[in-house]
Amino acid sequence: MDLLQLIVSGVSQGCVYGLIALGFVLIYKATEMVNFAQGDLMMLGAYVAVTFINILGWPFGWGLLATLAVMALVGVVLERLLFRPMLGEPHFAVLMLTIGLGFILRAFAGAVWGNEPQALHAPYAGQVLRVGELVIGYENLVIVLGTVLLCTLLYLFFRFTRLGIAMQAASQNQLAAFYVGIPVKRIFSLVWALSALVAAFAGVLTAPVSMIDPLIGFVGIKAFAAAIVGGFGSLPGAILGGLLVGLVEQFAGLYLPPGYADMSAYVLLLVMLMIRPEGLFASMQQKKV
């Protein structure tokens, strides 16, 4: 029925928001920088995947892995060249830098891949799963399962690996991390790598469903709202915030006049800031990363 159908699309769209939000939060928690180019990293990831899969004709799985690797590298390079020198600079300066980076990435994508919308070829594109009256596109299913898989891996990484725990340590107390000999600057590079990788993953998941063009990165603004709704310091909060934004958007699309759906993320954000300014997850902020 309709309601379930809406929930399915809301959740799958919400996963994409959530993944981008995750990237915001990862970088913010570690470095206290807000990276407004996070959505554009997602866009870039989608285009890199288009290059491997559509243009070079690689199998989807290999194309995905190659994309993640390339984008992780992009994250490292960005950190090394642009953001490491900005450590300790005023927040607005860093913010401007990330906004500028967004412009550059969009122009770059337009120049290299053109401005026409295109779709990433996925082997599962167009197939559907029927459960009773419910029709679920495989694309949506893959988005949800992919998000669950990635979040599980991230959880295990942060919870149980030496490097993951060191990332938490560096986020929780930078100076103490230095004092115990954790190479904090290298950790920051890895955080950027991880965050670009997560964004690219979101891009690859979403690219078979919605056409991609150089401007799709603007969903990053909605994802930013989602991150704030989730508490902006909490990884689970980012995903939940994303889901909430995705769901609210679907329902707004159904029950409100056209055009309102696109506003709903920000309305949600405003409401959230009024009733619970610290965000959904503030109380357990940073608990489990």
């Binding site: 060191a166 929780q172 930078q174 991390a177 004092y179 115990v180 000999g181 940073q286």
Partner: protein
Amino acid sequence: MAALLELTNIETYYGPIMAIRGVSLQVEAGRIVSLLGANGAGKTTVLKTISGAMDPQKGTVRFDGREIQTRDPDWVARLGIAHVPEGREVFPFLNVEENLQMGAFSRRDASIAADIELVYEYFPVLKGLRKQAAQVLSGGQQQMLAIGRALMLRPKLMLLDEPSLGLSPKLIQEIATIITRLNKEQNVTILLVEQNARMALDIGDFGYVMEMGRIVMEDECERLRNATDIQEFYLGMKDEGVRGRRRWKQRKTWR
């Protein structure tokens, strides 16, 4: 014999403010050296300059024969200097054991697990709290954790910044005993910053006294204990000292 640590004419600034005005000091291997001074004297800044959290404008820091004054703190730590900062600075959301593991982050050898047990031998309370988040520990327990975490580096030199701060006299005594034991049993050379002059002079071998960013007195602790100035200014004046204005704390201003 060359000293393990040697500072020569160090000058360190906070922006335009000159906090350290030409400090020279030596720490010989195997000793406990105390650095005393009222608050604002610059003791913490000296330690930060040694561990690389701040770079001096002038002067050199020599450790184990190498100049390290321009290095980052993680590099200095890997060289064998463990800094136990003012205010403990444990990783609040990691549990006790994870905090200790992070102390050994730079190590690759097989005896890390054994060293965690060693820390638990020195601080038995921590063993019972091993799965607790560090933030729920009491001040004294956090201080023990911070020292234990520093020990996990297997350092040659440990910098301790006011470990007695905010602790009960009984706990202070306990910490003092542990510091002496670490020095004797684990061969850790110690540079101890304290406002609690009584404790610092009791366990120290050699002492420096700072005022306004300068060293104003240095001698064997034995003799400092008997110096009239010290008795008047530090021992007579209650151990708490004048801790009025303090702490626009050391958030991430490590540079």
